[in-house]
Symmetry: C2
Subunit: 351 residues, 2 copies
DNA sequence: TAAAGCTACGCAATCGATTGTGTTATCAAT
DNA sequence: ATTGATAACACAATCGATTGCGTAGCTTTA
């Protein structure tokens, strides 16, 4: 099988008796090329099925038209939606998106960053691994002025652009909602504290309790490093069997909240009347569980689009604005898992 | 801000008073380079933080170490898991993965294929858009001997490697299971017929009915082009209000099945005793719905890994085996949505 | 009519790594 | 001491596209 050589600008140049540079310029619609020549080049290029060699162009121009993405996993509702958003705007602007996953491991994250750096990506979008507390592996991008945008799970001590949701406010709203439903003993199922999203949701939770003069009971604040379905069951078992059972639970994700509801049902605890529950993320499962789970909406696709926009627009820009945090609002979705028939006390004022 | 030039083999060569070719060979552990020279080169490369320019190497060697993926969407449980699998094996072999989504549109699929072709990918993994019935846009890959592997939603008239599940058998098993539970009037919620997966699931369904001498009623066979949640409701409404209501329903995906169950519950139809239901995919929601949904397991991550393996191993291989279909087995998961207490009639023999 | 200004294009270097083809030492063998 | 073999490296072309600079030819202007 003979290798069919690709058509190059040289082939076209030779055939038209012009120079390769003329062909190159004609193809790029350069002003200094005559109309006739331009037309002839375009025509022949079309005929010969000319495909520009982006690799060669990349080498010369030092641009790859590619951005990279590092996320913990890609097969999770929130993250896959986020990546979907990234792909949409990148695609629209003619950029490729290279993905990689850290599996929540620091080592993988470092390895992925290194690989992407080697691939000469022009921008990087990262949602941090659960494990990561050191962020040096991103410095080489910044030093080379390659924009790095963090999304959702972001570091706090690095000077760059971040796209996040207002986790604090969301945590506050969720908790406040439970309070307004008459809950007074509210537990929180949270993630690891060193990860901004979980810390802030908890902070919001604590702040709400404070604002409404409710006691903060450390026994009701759980820190889980997984927030998986299994963890959800384990935690549910613990919380619902406490001597003084909580009457409201704010979970930092839907997965754990759903497991908790399932467990509650299995032991005859009434949701929402015995215990009101609210989750986080608005995963598909939240609408399926019975009773449907109240939750917080994450604008995942939007976040992806925004992150991509940030990365792409940061390019060849002066570094006046080095750091920036874009904070998106969330929305509280009240469903049956937390909607009580009881009228909240009048003493409670809306914030 | 001064542009820091990257360290090249020329820099290293100059500093060591050797030629760039020697540096290149030393870095690649070529045999014709002396130990001392090799060591010196490696040492200096390390010191200077040399990063090989993959673009330049690509241009010369005509290899990009990149594969492309085109899927309808990426934010769907099955597909994101599939991509996750692709990424894992590609990453392990040092390949990048560029993703793109067709949004189930033929036009997008064509555009994506074109873009990826331009990006000089070395392999392509595709799950077809719902719309696509023409596959010419993949021919240019095949002509250039770039491996194309189709996954799950595959064309039937193209000569290349495919990774699929045994949809026919799965459809058969699902239907047979309903029959064994005593259902005699079984409906099927299917997808568009021109898409292999849906056609085959339906074929399996029909075959099972035939084998057990049940009548095939066209009114009970629905073709939906979305199989969305909304469609599920619409179809549920239709099916459950038929004069002769079906007593079993096999849905080609979980989304529609779950909607159907929800609707059934809302109108007081007992699942599984009035109507037994089975879905397809084992989406997370299938375990959350009450009663839990029986379904068919798709080995999504495995399929992704396999597809990637196929693509990567097909390279620089002679084209002896041009076409190959790898068919994976599925598993029937019986949950409460289809488990009846009734003993199936003795007349029913297992296949 | 000569100087100045365009128009339309060609030349050749460049981006870095790779690789086929030399070219020198060095050493063993006769 | 001469030859052939081998080790260790250098040269230079190559992969295609891009681009700063240069120039021939034609037009315009004083």
């Amino acid at each position: 099988m003979e290798k069919k050589r690709e058509v190059t600008i040289y082939d076209i140049a030779k055939e038209l008796n012009v120079s390769p540079s003329t062909v190159s310029r004609a193809l790029k619609d350069h002003h200094s090329i005559g109309k006739k020549t331009k037309k002839a080049v375009l025509k022949l290029a079309e005929e010969r099925g000319y495909q520009p060699n982006v690799i060669a162009a990349s080498l010369r121009s030092n641009r790859t038209n590619t951005i990279g993405v590092i996320t913990p996993w890609i097969n999770r509702p929130f993250i896959s939606s986020l990546i979907s958003g990234v792909e949409m705007t990148a695609n629209k602007q003619g950029y490729n998106v290279i993905i990689s996953q850290s599996h929540d491991s620091y080592e993988n994250e470092v390895a992925n960053a290194k690989a992407l750096y080697g691939s000469r990506i022009e921008g990087l979008i990262v949602s941090l691994a659960m494990e990561s507390t050191n962020y040096d592996h991103f410095q080489k991008f910044l030093k080379k002025n390659i924009p790095v945008v963090f999304v959702d799970r972001v570091p706090d001590d690095i000077n760059t652009t971040k796209v996040v949701i207002n986790n604090y406010e969301a945590g506050f709203k969720a908790t406040q909602h439970l309070i307004e439903q008459g809950c007074t003993r509210i537990a929180h199922i949270g993630g690891v504290r060193h990860r901004n999203v979980y810390k802030e949701r908890m902070d919001g939770y604590v702040a709400a309790l404070r604002q409404y003069d409710l006691t903060i009971d450390d026994n009701l604040i759980i820190e889980s490093d997984r927030l998986s379905s299994e963890e959800g069951f384990r935690i549910a078992k613990y919380l619902l069997n406490l001597p003084e059972r909580p009457d409201g639970i704010f979970s930092a994700n839907d997965t754990a909240a759903v497991s908790l509801i399932k467990y509650a049902k299995s032991v005859g605890v009434d949701i929402p009347n015995d215990v009101a529950v609210i989750g986080f993320n608005n995963d598909p499962i939240s609408t399926i569980i019975d009773p449907p789970l109240s939750t917080i909406i994450h604008p995942a696709i939007e976040m992806g689009k925004l992150a991509a926009t940030q990365v792409l627009n940061r390019e060849d820009q002066t570094d006046i604005v080095k750091s920036q945090t874009i904070m998106l609002d969330t929305e509280l979705i009240v469903r049956e898992s937390s909607r009580r028939v009881v009228i909240p006390k009048e003493s409670i004022t809306k914030a």
